[in-house]
Symmetry: C2
Subunit: 282 residues, 2 copies
Amino acid sequence: MNAAVAAIKPRKPSGLALVPTMGALHEGHAALMRTARESNAAVVVSIYVNPTQFGPNEDFAKYPRPLEADCRICEREGVAVVFAPTDNEMYPGSQPRLRGRGQLAASTWVEELQVAKRLEGERRPSHFHGVCTVVAKLFNIIQPDRAYFGQKDYQQLKVIQRMVRDLCYPIEIVSVPTVREADGLAMSSRNRYLSPDERAQALVLWKALNCARDLFAKGERDPQRLQTAMAQVIATAPAARLDYAEIADGETLEQRQKVKRGDVALIAAFVGATRLIDNLIL
Amino acid sequence: MNAAVAAIKPRKPSGLALVPTMGALHEGHAALMRTARESNAAVVVSIYVNPTQFGPNEDFAKYPRPLEADCRICEREGVAVVFAPTDNEMYPGSQPRLRGRGQLAASTWVEELQVAKRLEGERRPSHFHGVCTVVAKLFNIIQPDRAYFGQKDYQQLKVIQRMVRDLCYPIEIVSVPTVREADGLAMSSRNRYLSPDERAQALVLWKALNCARDLFAKGERDPQRLQTAMAQVIATAPAARLDYAEIADGETLEQRQKVKRGDVALIAAFVGATRLIDNLIL
């Protein structure tokens, strides 16, 4: 083929994509699949509610598992393979749900100790151990060229990027922007836990992030003032209880003395009994 | 090709083999390479003295690094590729030699918590974290179909087998029997630390293991008595100091109440300043 023909013929995407999910798929997941399809010959979606990334008092048992509806979404999005393993396939010879982290029969763990340290890692102590371990397993099983993660779980994205670099995985981690409802609420499988009133009040997370962005745009560079402003917005919703509102380095997730472009504002708050997270890059 | 022809034509081996080493290659490594060549289209030997598997008072600095001689051995054994990475290739952005385990800039670790718990894992607390982490990296970089480990480092072999199963690596771990000097001493890169007198006395490890085997053959099933007998053999060498002599389950390395065929006798002892290990399956 000569250069002129090569130039006008659209390049056929090559490679295998993995979109790791816990199911309960929504438009945010669909955006991951669509982005993956654009740059890959085939897309694998994994659906697995990973027990080891849930804390003992978290929502593992009630986490929604609408597998058939999920498969229809995958089919609609042109996904080649849905990989929905059993616990025994992911944790051979073990019962990860029933035991603490140290006593699992399947006893190999992957842990990232730096990016995972603060924020979600501090509030959910074994969460990222579970995430890194299950993602490493999925990488080893599927062996994708690229894997797609939503920016909604910002710290998870950065932990996985660090893990991939540290462990020399030949996999490109692609970040896909958060998909939001019409009013701005970040799409999340956990939104379906919210009552109509809680759903309305949940918008304070997005409002608080926008408040931080506006202050940053007006020149505010003191992280403490931005964090206080975000907390004040959260306090306007009676059903909401702030877990954290912080400004962090966009790569390391470390605390900031002075806020810079590319830093990220991160929020976690309970709305009723439901814990929601969101973030915005400044 | 019809069935008759297929039956008489020797099957060409396919697949890629990895032989992970720390260099200072000896006949034990050569046996790994030869075994790997028999069943694979190509063999990669990695040579990397992995800093994170050495404890602070161990022999990392003085560990022999005869890279040119090692390459000649690899060439002689028909190895396709020698992979001798730098620290920065294996631990990007980090200085693993200079810092403790928790403070590494490259902050992702792979740990196996069950098979690695006792014996070497107890005496060398971060050893297997370092081993698992570096082997996972090598697997991700080389992506072999099979990887070859010597039975001389028995617990390491079993830790890696468990790690591979737990993390769903599509890699076959092949165990190769220990190669011994004419008198029975297990080949080890650390043997070159021994003075001629220590070299002669080092044979007590093999003698102690044979003593356990003989007693087992005569019907002894009490692990304590076998362990005491091994310790008594070690005590006959004035330069030797026992670290441990134990009978363990051949897969889990757990302690035994009653010894069974397939259990393993494991010994670690200092001979002069040099720590040696050896083992024998009963």
